[in-house]
Symmetry: none
Subunit: 198 residues, 4 copies
DNA sequence: TATGAATGAGTGTTCATTCAT
DNA sequence: CATGAATGAACACTCATTCAT
C-alpha cells in the first residue's frame, strides 16, 4: 500500500527511534532505571507501549543503547573543549556549563554508576568507560597547558582532573532537579579546586 | 509465671528493630526506595518477610523512620564539629571524613531528595530539613570564625557553606560504592573551595 | 491504518467491562466483599487477573461501581411498578417476584449494609440510598392508593412499606442460595403483612 | 509447681474455653467467618493469639464448635416455648423477641447458611439441622394448637412455620446491626403472616 | 507499522498457625 | 499454661512483555 521505498522507510524508522530515545533519556536520567516505567516513555514519546517493542527488544536494550550514546556524547563533548575559545581556565569554565542534553547524559551515567539493579551489560559499559581511560586522557593536555600557563594549581594533573570531574558530575544530578535546597554552586567556587585561588 | 520479662522482651524487640533498620539503611541507601524490595531487607536482616510487619507498619513507615533518623544523626554530627580539636579548617577537615554509617545516612537523604516515587511524608521531612534552616545555621559560626582567622576565603559565609556541603554531600554517594573509577577526591582539594588556597 | 476502529474498540471494551461486572456481581453477592478474591472474578469472567486492572482501578472501584449500579437498578425497578398492570395488590405481588439479576443486586446491597470491611465510599452510597429517601418515597403513592381501595391495611403507609421492603429484602438473600432448608415463602403469605388478611 | 488438682484445672480450662467462645460468637456473628481475624477474638477474649491454640486446634474447629452450640441452643430455645405463659399467639410473640445471645446464634447460623467460604464441616452441620427435621417439628404442636384456637390462620402449619421462621431469622441479621435504614419491623406486623389478621 | 488488550511473574501486605521461652 | 515472636502461604496490585487485529 505504501509507495515509500526502503531508504525512506529506514529514515522514518531511525527518526522514530531517535524520538523514543530522547524521551527515554529524560525519564531514565531523572527517575533511574527501576523508577522508569515503559508506559512513561511511551507516553512522553507519543506512541503506544507496544510500538516500543518494534524498535527495541526490551527495556534493558533501550537502556543500554542510551548508556552507549551517553558515553559517546560525553567523550565527544570532552574532545570539543579544544575547539572552545579562550585560555585553559576559560575553556574549562565553558565545559562546566553543559547544555541540558549533556547534563542528562551525565545524570544517566551517574545514575547507572551509583545504583544497583541496572542491567549487567550497562554496568560493564560504564566500567569500561572509566575516567582514567577516557576523560582523564582527553583532558590531560588541557590541564598541563593550564599548569604551564600558571592558571591551574600544580600537582598531578590526572588527579586534579579526576577530582574536578567527579565533583561536577555529582553536581549535575542535583542541578537537574532544580532543587532549591541544594543550591547549584557558583562555577567559580568549583574552579577553585583546579586553580587553587579565590 | 509470664514466659518472658516485659523489659527483656522490649529489649529484644528494640534490638531486632535496630537490626532491621540497619539492614534497611544499607539497601535503601544504595538502591533507593523503589529499587529496594522488602525481601532484600528481610534476607539481609536474617528474618522472614512477614516479620517485618511486626516491627513496621509498612515499607513507607520503615523508610520514613530511617529518614528521620538520618536527619537527626546528620544534625547531631554537624553540631559535634565544635567539640573537635584544632582550628576551623581542621575541624572542617575532620567533619568531611564521616564514618561509614554517616555516609549511608547522607546517601539516603541524597537519594530521597533526587528521586521520584518517594513517600510523600519523607519528601516533606527532607524539605523541612533544608540546608538553610539547619546545616547552614549550625556551621555558620564555624565559618565566620574561619574567616576571621583568615583561614577561609572571604565572601558570604552562608553561600560558602551551602556550596561546600552540596559538594561533599554529592560525593558521599560515590564514595560508598567504592567505585574505583570515581576516585574519592582528596579532602584537601575540596577544602580549596572554602580556603581559596592551594 | 489504525488497527481497530475507535468505536469498535470502545464497544469491545464496554462488553468486556460488562462481562466482568456480571461475573463480579455473582461472586460479591454470594461471598461478600472480603470473601471475594479477584482470582475468582477473573476465572469466572474467563480472563487473567491482571486484565481486571485494565478495566477497573481496584477491587474497591469495581465493588463501588456495582453498588451504584445496584442502587440505580433497584430504584428503576421500584419506579416501574406503576407500569405494571392490575390493582395495587397485584402490582406489589409482581414487584416481589424479582428476576435473578434483581435478586443479586438486592443481595449485594444487603451484604454491603450488614458487613464490616466494606470500602468507605460504598458504605456512604448505601447510606444515602436509605429506604426513607428512595424506596419509601417511590412506593408511597402505591400504598396510599391500596389503602384507599381498601386492599391494604390501614396505618402509616411509610412504616408499612419499610417493614414489607425489609422483609422481602432480607429474604432475597436466602432465595438466591436455592437453599432447600430456608424455603422461600409464598408471596401471598408475605403480602399478609400489607393486606392484613389471610 | 501448681498445687491445683486435676479437676480444678479442668474447670479453669472449661471456663477459659467458654470465655473464648463467647468472644468468638460475637465477632463471627457480626463479621462472618472470613471477616473474622483470630487476633480480634483473642483481643476481645483478653488473651494472646497463641493461647487460642491451646484450646482450639484451628479457626475452623472454633467455628464448627460454635455452630454446634448455636444449633443446640436454638433447638433448646424452640422447645422452651411451651414453658412460656399465655396463648399460642402470645407464646410465639415472646419467642420472636429473643435475647441478645439467642440473636447472635441466629445470625451465626444465618451467616453460615448464606455465605460461601466457610468450613465444609460447618456447612454439613447446618444442612443436617434443616428446618424440617428440627424447628418445624418442634413448633408444629404450637401452631396446630393456635389454629384450633382460631388464633392462627388455617392452611399447612408446617409451611406457615417455615415461612415465619425464615422471615424472623433473616431479620435478626439486620437487627443486630442496629441499622437505622432497615427498621426492625413491629413484631405485630410480622405476626400477621401467621394470624392473617391486622 | 501501529494499537491497546492480554498475560504472568513479582511486589507489598495480611493472617492463620507454630514455636521458643 | 501463657506469651508474642516468627513463619509462609495467600492476596491485591503492578508492569514488562506478547499478541491479535
Amino acid at each position: 500500500m505504501s509507495p515509500l521505498n526502503g531508504d525512506q522507510l529506514q529514515i522514518i524508522r531511525d527518526e522514530r527511534k531517535e524520538q523514543i530515545m530522547i524521551a527515554a533519556l529524560q525519564i531514565f536520567a531523572r527517575r533511574g532505571y527501576i523508577g522508569t516505567k515503559l508506559s512513561m516513555i511511551a507516553t512522553k514519546a507519543g506512541i503506544s507501549q507496544g510500538l516500543l517493542y518494534h524498535y527495541f527488544k526490551s527495556k534493558d536494550e533501550l537502556f543500554i543503547l542510551l548508556i552507549q550514546q551517553a558515553i559517546q556524547e560525553s567523550i565527544d563533548g570532552m574532545k570539543s573543549v579544544y575547539q572552545l575559545p579562550g585560555s585553559p581556565i576559560e575553556k574549562l569554565r565553558a565545559l562546566t556549563r553543559l547544555d541540558n542534553e549533556g547534563q542528562l547524559y551525565f545524570m544517566l551515567i551517574h545514575h547507572a554508576r551509583t545504583s544497583d539493579g541496572i542491567p549487567e551489560e550497562a554496568k560493564q559499559l560504564i566500567e569500561q568507560y572509566s575516567m582514567d581511560s577516557y576523560v582523564v586522557d582527553i583532558l590531560e593536555p588541557l590541564f598541563i597547558e593550564g599548569q604551564k600557563a600558571n592558571e591551574f594549581t600544580q600537582g598531578d594533573p590526572r588527579q586534579l582532573i579526576s577530582t574536578y570531574f567527579t565533583v561536577v558530575s555529582a553536581l549535575m544530578t542535583l542541578n537537574i532537579h532544580e532543587d532549591e535546597a541544594y543550591q547549584m554552586p557558583e562555577v567559580n567556587l568549583l574552579l577553585r579546586i583546579v586553580t587553587g585561588r579565590p
